[in-house]
Symmetry: D3
Subunit: 331 residues, 6 copies
């Protein structure tokens, strides 16, 4: 396979409270790394694609730790900028049963928030690229990285690279003076494939309808550049049991995946990013129905894996899509 | 909130076999602390009440360890007596699936069993108190602490403090020469709110009827001082799956909570004490139906938490009672 | 109880990836030991029988580690031969949810594969023995241990010792030039009790029928020495949820156990060996229906236990067979 | 003992790389808490004094974690202010042999840096207080906490409470526009007991002389309010071996402690704060020579203990000062 | 080698505070097992001798845990009595540098203290035995086990088995009404080889002289049955650095070993028992000077090993006695 | 810096017994990776050079684990061949004090041993290369990789790339029919810089003299192509304390480094490879005396680091060479 995906976004250190303790009890943390867009890129790398991730990291040894994490996962270094500053952090308390998982963020004023357009070697990053992906998180962080996002979309378009955006809305970000409606429409205009739910559409694009298909139509009327629209649907029975489906609206048709019952969830973080990666893989390599099946299976497998990133190969995902003998020991 | 609960009881060290090993295999232990009544007091402290716990602990550094545990959980020190002797222990082997959890006790002849009435500063302990709680475990340990229990109830009554008792019957205790029927009725006569199941009533009060409501009526006929009677009902499908309901009989009416399906149980120990604490909180702050709903939700959340104690705040418990989006990630 | 079982087989070191990580991520391994036949023997030792296990282990300290493991589990040393060479290994990546567990073997050219008939003190091993058990794995490893297996069966028969064989077929073994059909029939002719599924029968005995009862009849026609035929039936819903039943064909009748729903599976490895051990125990001590119930309960309890071996006592297994209050805390 | 010490300062979370790994390799962190002045206060609490610590902590559960840490160590809550914001962090890579330990700070813009004078209940904090201690770190953080420091000194003086300051100079702080020479002299004028080395004196007070005694005299000429001047002298042979002495200049005399050879250092962080706590304890309870001996022994014992805080009791410190059978097992 | 040593004594569970924490901080314990005489027996088993250990253990699974520990270390089961009761415990806080290790005992009223003479199958235990060893700890525990000790010595003498006693005096034991001088002389009269220091001799035998050789002479005058007298001499520089020598007085001559500088001590517990085991091995197999060299080297190696027991083989001990390339990597 | 080093050699998985346990006790392993030549390459990568490592790894996920290890450490992939087979292993038991560390190898018949000359893309590997390094271990493994070594040297020479060889002699390898004297001289003839001690020279080149300088002269007479000759000198006081010096013979002069006392050794494995890497760095960038000082300091720092590889940067090594304030905390 000779496909390369460019992703843009912050990589945070995740400090997870181990052994099902509460955050206010903890005596140690497990260390993982993630960020919505990097999760997508690394998932695609595990499916066999190339990935170049644009981000900024501190000079100090914790920044080096992240570089090693990215290297280890086969992410290309071309888009990694090293600067002074701090690494963003989030603390994860793992839920169980009827007790939800909880996140405490400490991600303001990070090195990434100061990343500038001209610090990136756009030619190196986009060399041989087929796809560019961003999310609604980056433009919410600072004007500087909102500008980087717009620039990246333009660089992609300039080179004929396909683009996708996960326009997830994060209320607690957006503190630099701009509102989503000031920024997101300009980005979506340059986006071929959009992922988002009703709340995201309402806040980022100002479009709302109770019916999701109608919602899609309204978006597509306003943004005729969009080629497909997708989201995952999660029913949360408890922190340990969710059900998951993926739907995609494309060329006037709604494609719906099989619904998976997810019991004994291991790690729910990054489930949406795994779905996003599955979607991109499918759009590049599969037909529409296969795409939603692949995307939902990718997300399900993520829930069985510690860390923000789906580590499954495309063979493992296809094995679940094919669905015989689910969970049977492989010798 | 300006409520204070006084509790009385032994605090044991719990040595838990980690990593799902059997006790006869173990190479290490996780350390927790608990005891039925302290569990109730600490749970209430996590709900925002004050708690003063009456107990006795050894002088040595393991006793100090328990004091630090209590301090950390916001328990007042007024009722803690330091004496020579040993700390009681229980070993916990964690069950899974169809294999039950198992406890080995090593709790005879402990410092607590020698605690004497006049070692306690009753005025300091009961200053500003609204409630006193005890269980049927303490009077089963020794004459000395049975006397302390009776004295505490009298001190509470003298000051107009409400009283509750969880009259759980533990066959393996009661080795100092008295039987439950010699001791428990005298305590129940001074108790406003009683928790117990059929087996407990039969052994502690000599009252038995197959029908639980009728059981309650018989108890209330004999002990007209009792204002309400409650218990939790647990269906055990496996060590990993229990279902839970709470019922309360008050003023001639039976209040029944929602029934929760508890899958993927993390730690079942202290589930009854969490229910007891929820009940006390409800009786102090909520109406009857709210009380049983709060009590059962508190107990459910305990099952998701490592250790003997429910660490949930009242907001978290109410969040489950309200019941939308159970288990959904909180950012 | 004064029963003694002789088992023959390789003991491998199992290196398990802890904390639900993938093998390609691991920074440490948990160490267990197991092998199909040793698992059977040790399970029986935990049920109160004596066990003498025939195997070969390296001289170095890792071989010593295995000896200590066997000693600790009450396995007699008479059949343990120490030689030069390497210890076989298997790597276990633990699945969860819809992601299967995976095994990577590194078990060629081990000390065990060079074990020779005349290195074993057959009299010491079979002293006071009631039963001999082998599996289809050993004769697949090398000519030398295939010869040992045949010799052991003859030694058993010579002494009037009952014999059982779990004729599981492992495609990846059988690399020394012989095929199962060259070897297994000669062993089955000396076997009183046989365990195997359709795939095993087809490959090891060349007998196949879609209907399992018919399959049994065909086998019994060809091998009239066989007294009973059994297998477990596993429905795999996911790596975390399997359902399990045991069936046994004996004297023209089919005995079927209760079907267990196994949720929250802790460790699936050795489930078949626990069933095998339960079957042997039952055939020695129980009637037919009790035997299948005991065998399936033994296997279910194995799934709740870390490691290859069922550590349950016969009382614990009987407690599950009796089935009241499954999973209820034992104080 | 009825002595109470008030301390003021930030409490940071320390994330320690375990198992002697490098920071850029780490897969987990051990969690400790500390800060120069809190370390002093908690050390004194372990010696039997009361301690009330003035600080600000975030509302979220990580702030709660710190409160539990303080409670557990017997620190009074009167001076703890809860506000929005983030918790300061430092990362510790543990050195060994000739490789030094390394710290990466992430402590800008924390909740503490926004603490304001009027958020503190000065009467509650200083009730029954004998001593107030601060360090040169707090005034380096922000104007707001520099103001709090000055105010605290005035509140102390107003009440006749003795004061001490550890005027350690931290070049990387001091980024809010003021220089040490703008701020520190005003604080030192209100300080009875000062700790600092040549570099600290030069940068904070503008006084320098190669000879330390002469340095002291120069300081005392300019600040006649100072009653004693002290410092510890550390010879660093390697990360695992330091030698330590304490000197104190008081009433024109120089007191010098025994010199300790510290091999196999366990945790060097907080060694200076343990000395500071020992000094305060000595100045309150011992004569001059005893004071330097007690202070150096306290610091030595800190080096044997994980975490920022000296956990030794005064009996343990005195045991080392007395010096027989050093390190001999205590049964 | 065909030598068998019988030992008698309690086996305690040791709960060690890991990660250099203080006991009052601990959140987990490492589990080891030991007891002075069992340590001697197991050390000898690692040197290739047979060992049969006389002790009593509870019926419950923690007792089973100890049996597995003994089995694993090749201790024969003939002398293990299972009874009701509790397992003795000791808590170990590990010192470092100038901070000593500390032990908290919880060993009263244990199963072992109720062991009775007639519960032991003396013939089975002493079958093929060459040596019997006891210590001064057992007769200090209860009248019942003091009686067992005397009986064991008589059983040994009756069979011509050599006897040794480590008459270490433990002040905190001896609470059952007898004093050492009431009991120990009767035991020493039946003892061939005695180990003890000045304090032990004074308290157990009432003999004291400042000069140790003279001390030996006085003992030998009174107890002409004694064939040799030995002790180890430990200089404690810190918890991490001790120096060690062994001396033995035999046939009027004093044999002195090489003095070892022990830096970076890993675990000091059981150092004396390792010396004792080395002494017994030497007296059975080596000449006098070799014996003291072997005994001191065995003890030094114990200090490098976690747990109460010396795990070194006789080859490893001899390798140190020979002393070339100490500590050089063995491939 | 724009230097690139090519290395050739097997990468083994190292399974380390943690917590200072013996191999025969272990319940888990820490996982590291290493191999003499890869250690050299990765050390150089940490000093800022590029490294391309020639090796062969199995297809399965454990092979993938090694690839991730190499990626993470910035090793180029060009020389990594994936094939069927097994990964070589070595087990490490960590010594302490007078007890040596011990290694058990399980490295025969590995994937690497089947690596063939024509499986390597020599142009890609040597693109921009300045240096090629091999050791005497690879030619000892199999004819096939001995051939690869010779070919690599020829490829280097063809391109004007400098070459170095660490001719360490491993007696237990060399089992494929050739002896060192059959193979090594042909390699040394193509080597510019040679490292080896007296035993290595004797066995690999057949040259021996008691005096090392004379030894060097003899080698240089026979191999005039050699430009410099070096070795490290280690005095082993115990497993925890070694002293280290480096000497280099070049252009008729002997350069000797400072001698370091290494106390509290953390991990001795790879100390020689760290010296080798330091030597290569020095020969490329420093003068002769600086080179031996840099090489010895690099090796000393390795001893403070867990794992086979020196993780120090050139700044850290230079900091030790400069030698002020050794071990002082870096904030």
């Amino acid at each position: 396979m000779n496909q390369k995906v460019v992703t843009l976004g912050e990589v945070l250190m995740r400090l997870t409270v181990p052994n099902q303790k509460r955050l206010f009890q903890t005596v140690n943390f497990d260390v993982n790394f993630g960020g919505s867009e990097a999760n997508v890129g690394i998932s695609l790398a595990h499916m066999g694609l190339k990935n170049s991730h644009i981000t900024a990291l501190p000079h100090h040894d914790l920044g080096e730790r992240v570089v090693r994490f990215l290297n280890m996962n086969n992410v290309g270094n071309e888009g990694i900028v090293r600067k002074d500053g701090r690494l963003g952090i989030y603390y994860l308390e793992c839920g169980a049963m009827q007790r939800p998982s909880r996140i405490v963020y400490d991600r303001f004023d990070t090195t990434f928030s100061y990343l500038k357009e001209d610090e990136i070697d756009w030619d190196a990053v986009f060399e041989d690229a087929n796809w560019f992906h961003y999310s609604g998180i980056t433009p919410a962080i600072s004007q500087s990285v909102a500008d980087v996002t717009l620039r990246a979309l333009k660089e992609a378009k300039k080179r004929g690279v396909k683009t996708s955006g996960d326009i997830n809305y994060r209320r607690n970000l957006w503190q630099y003076g701009k509102q989503p409606l000031d920024v997101m429409p300009g980005l979506v205009e340059l986006t071929d494939y959009v992922v988002g739910g009703r709340v995201d559409l309402e806040n980022c694009l100002g479009i709302y309808d109770d019916d999701w298909s109608r919602n899609c139509e309204l978006v597509l009327e306003k943004y005729p550049n969009i080629k497909a629209f997708s989201k995952s649907i999660r029913d949360s029975h408890s922190a340990s049991r969710n059900d998951l489906t993926v739907v995609m609206y494309k060329d006037g048709k709604l494609y719906t995946s099989k619904k998976y019952e997810m019991n004994n969830i291991v790690d729910r973080i990054g489930g949406g990013d795994a779905f996003m990666a599955g979607l991109i893989y499918g759009l590049l390599n599969l037909n529409e129905q296969q795409t939603v099946e692949y995307a939902v299976a990718a997300s399900v497998l993520k829930h069985s894996t510690i860390g923000d990133v789906n580590l499954s190969s495309k063979e493992e995902i296809m094995h679940l899509v094919d669905g015989d003998n689910v969970g049977r020991l492989l010798r």
